[in-house]
């Protein structure tokens, strides 16, 4: 069985490797979250907001022209249609209700491209909570529109100026600020990373994706299980959500598309399972890109959401035991896949999600296979990158 154990491990990955100063915060969360989210009050509010505010269930759309081109029956799970433009909001809705029940007054979050930051700022506005988002100084320059979105929503955006000034440093900074404000503050982590219980908690909030996939497939195909599920993986929250209810259904192939950046051996890549080794990143044991000396290596991907030097511990485990197949998609191929989907289906995908589309070219499948691709986000935020790339 693939599931988290009592100490927060998936196989040999996971755990909570955190400074003692964070222990009370993490312990409080660990001790309370399962009981809180099991209450009817929580479930009712969570489900209501997912339906009426986020717009769930998101459609499961049979992509006819894409299917014809690739010779399989390809469905797109339309997370791009969620409020705020990506799956990220499923998690922030769950965590903001949890934060309220824990009696927290403030929320902090990290963000890379700004999608999780916007999703956090959104739910904080909705609940009237004070919100501070940490974002790498470099990302603030690269993702100006999302910075302004967060500000319009009333959040404070603080630059992380250490290290590479990107997502990993924003995460470090958010953890430091949590140490500095342990009592009244909840930290909304945006992916299935960080110390236990975050990876499992975030996966559970995102698991609504595969929960819906099951009944939607049942309606459309007469069976709950597709032959393949494909999702992109940075930290891996959309993949965890899309895989969750299929972890222990081995006849469903799980395919994770990582970002190869400029190429595996270019020195500018984020293909963690290819280039990484076991170690500790942001409080959990996982696979990460690091030097021989254990220093964390700067990743690269054209998509800011995949520009992360590790993967969540559950994905490290799925990789370790061979449950999921990992492919590494280069920047150029992802951009072309983004254009392809735009032209074939009239859907401009987030560049993250375009990696999952390109994975169709890298795996074997049968002609009548039913494939679900988790279209995690829409491309509006990436217009600048599409324009700069220009190959359309």
């Amino acid at each position: 069985m693939i599931r988290v154990d009592e100490k927060g491990f998936y196989g040999r990955f996971g755990g909570a490797y955190i400074p003692e100063m964070l222990h009370p915060n993490v312990e409080e969360l660990k001790e309370n979250y399962e009981a809180i989210i099991a209450t009817p009050e929580f479930q009712q509010e969570f489900r209501m907001l997912l339906r009426d505010y986020v717009g769930r269930p998101t459609p499961l759309y049979l992509a006819q022209r894409l299917s014809e081109k690739y010779g399989a029956k390809i469905y797109l799970k339309r997370e791009d249609l969620c409020h705020t433009g990506a799956h990220k909001v499923n998690n922030t809705i769950g965590q903001i209700i949890l934060a309220k029940k824990l009696g927290k007054k403030r929320v902090i979050a990290e963000t890379g491209a700004g999608q999780h930051g916007v999703a956090t700022a959104t739910v904080c506005a909705l609940m009237g909570m004070d919100c501070t988002v940490y974002m790498g100084e470099l990302d603030i320059e690269r993702q100006r529109p999302n910075v302004e979105r967060m500000k319009i929503l009333g959040a404070k955006v603080v630059a992380a100026t250490s290290g590479s000034k990107t997502l990993k440093d924003a995460t470090n900074e958010a953890m430091r600020q949590w140490i500095n404000n342990p009592v009244d503050t909840h930290y909304i982590i945006g992916s299935v990373v960080g110390p236990h219980p975050y990876p499992e908690m975030v996966a559970r909030f995102q698991s609504v994706i595969s929960e819906e996939m099951k009944w939607q497939l049942k309606e459309k195909e007469g069976r709950e299980n597709p032959d393949l599920v494909i999702a992109c993986v940075g930290g891996g929250s959309n993949a965890a959500g899309a895989f969750y209810h299929y972890y222990n259904t081995p006849e469903v192939r799980l395919v994770a598309a990582e970002a190869a950046g400029l190429g595996i051996s270019s020195g500018k890549s984020a293909a963690t399972t290819v280039l990484g080794t076991p170690g500790i990143l942001h409080g959990s044991k996982t696979i990460l890109m690091q030097t021989e000396d254990g220093q964390v290596v700067e990743p690269h991907s054209i998509s800011a959401g995949l520009d992360y030097p590790g993967i969540g511990p559950v994905h490290a485990h799925l990789f370790d035991i061979g449950r999921a197949e990992f492919v590494a998609v280069e920047d150029e191929d992802a951009m072309k896949a983004g254009i392809e989907l735009s032209r074939l289906e009239g859907i401009i995908p987030a560049i993250e999600s375009a990696h999952a589309i390109h994975a169709l070219n890298m795996i074997e499948y049968q002609k009548d296979d039913v494939i679900v691709i988790n279209l995690s986000g829409r491309g509006d935020k990436d217009l600048e990158t599409y324009i700069k790339w220009g190959g359309y």
């Binding site: 909570a16 955190i18 100063m21 009370p24 430091r176 404000n181 342990p182 009592v183 080794t277 964390v296």
Partner: protein, 257 residues
């Protein structure tokens, strides 16, 4: 006898521990800085092993870590530099390092090297107590290394007791809700916390760190504990020092007296 035990057997008041980052500000500064700390009259030397992602540290120590790594400092290099240091230094020496570089080096190999060069204790801020007990305690003991845990104002009495039970060196009391170098001065709220822990009559000595920078804060902290640890303020002192050895001695003298 472990030098940390020896120290606390002989001195229970105003114990001063100085933290610095290995390889900062220059790669070969490690040993000269240690010699100057000893000459200045401190009691414990805490050597920071630089790491790319030090999540418990504020801007000053983040910066010293970054510079040390750019200078070419690594675990391997540090052990090379430390070879033979016991000919010059007799103070207890503690290595402070984040877990990832240590497990990449190999925990057993790391402990063995520590013992070989003459390290007395370890502070691994992101190694939680349970993981230490489950995975590493027997190794630390085999190589005669004293492990130090941190506690903060948020740490429950029950957990402080557990930590006290599982330590036999000293307890590192983080002075406030903070990362290193975040605040200066000591508030009434902090003093209440110091007193609360003092009244618990723990078996281990306690050193207060984070926010200690000068004679005044050192003296206040020492009133409620066995002494204090200075890190960020020391790093700032040596950062642009033109006369490093003398400046270190003068600084430590000023703190102690």
């Amino acid at each position: 006898m472990n030098r940390i035990h020896y120290l606390f057997n002989n001195k229970q008041e105003r114990v001063l521990s100085i933290y610095f980052t290995a390889g900062f500000p220059h790669l070969e500064d490690t040993i000269p800085v240690m010699e100057a700390i000893q000459a200045g009259g401190a009691d414990i030397i805490e050597i920071g092993v630089p790491y790319s992602d030090p999540i418990a540290d504020g801007p000053t120590i983040q910066d010293s870590n970054k510079i040390a790594l750019e200078n070419g400092m690594s675990m391997k290099k540090l052990f090379e530099q430390l070879r033979g240091f016991r000919a010059k230094i007799n103070l207890p020496v503690v290595l402070m390092g984040y877990l990832n570089p240590i497990i990449q080096f190999g925990m057993e190999e790391f402990c063995k090297k520590c013992k070989e060069v003459g390290i007395d204790g370890l502070i691994v801020p992101d190694l939680p107590m349970q993981q230490y007990l489950d995975e590493y305690k027997s190794l630390f003991e085999e190589y005669g290394l004293v492990n130090t845990f941190l506690i903060s104002p948020q740490t429950s009495e029950k957990r402080i007791r557990e930590i006290d039970e599982n330590t036999d060196g000293f307890i590192y009391m983080v002075s406030s809700h903070s990362i290193t170098g975040a605040k200066s001065g000591i508030s009434a709220e902090q003093i209440a916390y110091f007193k609360r822990v003092q009244e618990m009559n723990l078996k281990n000595p306690r050193l207060i760190g984070f926010g200690i920078s000068d004679s005044e804060t050192f003296t206040t902290a020492s009133k409620y504990s066995n002494g204090a640890i200075i890190g960020s303020a020391f790093i700032k002192k040596i950062k642009d020092s033109k006369n490093q050895s003398q400046d270190i001695k003068d600084y430590i003298q000023a703190v102690i007296n």
